[in-house]
Amino acid sequence: MASTIVTFELGGREVEVMVKPMTTLQSVLRNQLGFTATKEGCRQGGCGSCTVLVNGEPMMSCLLPVEDVAGQRVTTLESITPAEGLHPLQRAFLDANAFQCGYCTPGMVMISKALLDHDPAPSDDDIRQALTGNICRCTGYRPIVRAVQAAAEAMSDDAGEQAR
């Protein structure tokens, strides 16, 4: 089957890729564009390690044909990492040791960002619910939940300061 050209926005910049039909966004990010923060834990939609945001909504990029994001806005972990320092979620994950091997971490940070973008002050239960599709084999999850709580608090403090 013939390849087609797909254009989408990645981290604020327009990218254009030539793909065979049904090529996944995950494969394009990792293999064509070198954006390897998006992981491939299962390529079956079962682990959440490939979570990215499409127009702000969390998606498992391993199940998403890249044609479906044509003209859309894709956000990966690379995109939210500031030029200097860390995003509050990254800072909170670091402070809480919310990782061991680190392989699930990009997906965990992205799903947490989606949560906090929708709900800046989630309850413990909201956070747990939001993370149910993302698997971690190392940490026992509790440090991750704690990190998301801490990030929410830090971001609300920052917002408060900016408002003042």
Partner: protein
């Protein structure tokens, strides 16, 4: 060693943390190389079968097919990873020869320009297999007439002439006769998947100088390098293994499974070759934690003292033994538990079945022994009529006690650990257990440990 420590004991920040939270930590499969080929495996659909024929003709016609590798391409095809520490015999095959012993066993490696082409070519390899009877249970495998998995005629790993790793200490039979109670239990555990978030994999890259760089997520670089050198019959100095952060390794990535065949493919094609397990291969082919069946028989006195313990354990190694023989030795050394028992007999069998091989996983040899032992301790407590804390304090080992494998205990702190746990949960212990220490028994009356 100085008593004042500056850095040891401090919760300093992890040196790799920023890489993890920014996604910049490089895992082996995050690399890509120009001209990189993809290797996929043709695997046995049957649990036990003779290989009568392999037809590659349709696979070879798939666009992007580069080449196929079969057993005859592998210089030293039969190997055992523990040969490095003197374990014999060589018994596992990089690629199956005349027989497959488990469903999922590798038969043909396909190397292709793209992953899709490799998958397509794999699906077009035609196998002519003659199914054989298979055995899946550790005790069925030891019965006369059971299908034989190994090439030496029985289904156990042999320990210096014995079909099991033995420990003999005191006289259990005599002690059973004198015991007030006999408590018996049978414990079964399922095989468990390692499930690392990053699947097992590597990329082998030919260098300009005749060497090969292998980027791998092995837990043991030299183990992998040395076994690859043996299997490919090339000097180890032509191999350069590079690891890094392993995306989860609980023992399964000590196996040497992907590196030898990927390196061979890189040698034969003179191109970089990537071989990474899919999640279903990780689930269905990679080593599991072994299934165990553990029989325990304890002789106990009315006051709660355990005077004899007999353990017969069977670990299901699957079709090949990998690290499991070592697990049984570790198990046998520790199957009496952290208790002072004067008469102990242990038989620990590494049993072959037609199951996906098992191997090392976090705590191997011990985790399932601890499960059986600690459930058994509760049964003993119930029989004697004491609470679960009491039975453990009565029998806890102390420094200077002789363990069944004939090493004096020197780091015992079970008693202090139980005291701390009781405090943590607010369980009030009797004074005699609060005062107990792990100090040697003959010194305990004059002040205990230093």
């Amino acid at each position: 060693m100085s008593s004042h420590l500056n850095v040891v004991g401090q919760s300093v920040r992890r040196s790799d943390g920023i890489g993890h939270v920014t996604g910049r930590t490089q895992y082996s499969a995050d690399r890509s190389f120009p001209g990189m080929l993809h290797l996929k495996m043709v695997r046995s659909p049957l649990h036990h079968a003779l290989i009568k024929g392999i037809d590659l003709s349709d696979a070879e016609r798939v666009p992007g097919f580069v080449r196929a590798l079969t057993a005859k391409d592998v210089p030293h095809n039969r190997y055992t990873i523990l040969s490095l520490i003197g374990v014999e015999p060589e018994e596992e095959f990089v690629l199956a020869e005349d027989r497959v012993r488990f469903k999922g066993e590798a038969i043909v490696a396909i190397v292709a320009e793209t992953e899709a082409a490799a998958f397509e070519a794999v699906s077009k390899v035609h196998l002519d297999l003659e199914e054989l009877p298979a055995v899946f249970d550790v005790e069925e495998a030891l019965k006369p007439g059971a299908p034989i998995v190994t090439h030496w005629g029985n289904n156990t790993f042999m320990y210096e002439g014995h079909p099991c790793r033995r420990v003999r200490f005191g006289d259990v039979d005599k002690a059973f006769e004198q015991a007030d109670y006999i408590v018996e239990g049978v414990y079964n555990t399922s095989p468990i998947e390692q499930a690392p978030m990053e699947t097992t994999g590597c990329i082998a890259v030919p260098e300009a100088n005749g060497r090969y760089i292998v980027y791998t997520n092995t837990q043991a670089l030299y183990f992998s390098l040395d076994n690859t050198s043996i299997i490919l019959q090339i000097p180890g100095n032509r191999l350069h293994f590079i690891g890094g952060t392993v995306g989860g390794g609980f023992g399964g990535k000590v196996d040497v499974i992907v590196e030898p065949i990927a390196t061979l493919a890189a040698i034969l094609t003179n191109r970089p070759v990537r071989f990474t397990y899919s999640r279903s291969e990780e689930m269905q082919v990679s080593s599991t934690r072994s299934a165990w069946r553990i029989y325990m028989k304890d002789g106990v006195m009315k006051d709660g003292r355990i005077v004899a313990r007999k353990v017969t354990s069977y670990a299901d190694s699957g079709a090949y033994s990998r690290q499991t023989p070592y697990a049984l030795t570790k198990h046998a050394a520790n199957a009496a538990g952290p208790y002072n028992i004067p008469n102990v007999s242990i038989d620990a069998y590494c049993v072959y079945t037609n199951r996906q091989p098992s191997s090392a996983m976090r705590g191997f040899g011990i985790t399932m022994a601890s499960f059986a032992l600690e459930v058994q301790m509760d049964k003993i407590a119930e029989r004697v009529g004491v609470d679960p804390w009491t039975i453990r304090f009565i029998n806890a080992y102390r420094n200077g006690d002789m363990k069944p494998h004939r090493k004096l205990a020197e780091d015992a702190t079970l008693i202090e650990t139980m005291q701390a746990a009781a405090t943590l949960v607010g369980h009030e212990l009797p004074d005699e257990f609060k005062a107990m220490t792990s100090a040697p028994r003959d010194a305990s009356h004059d002040g205990g440990r230093e």
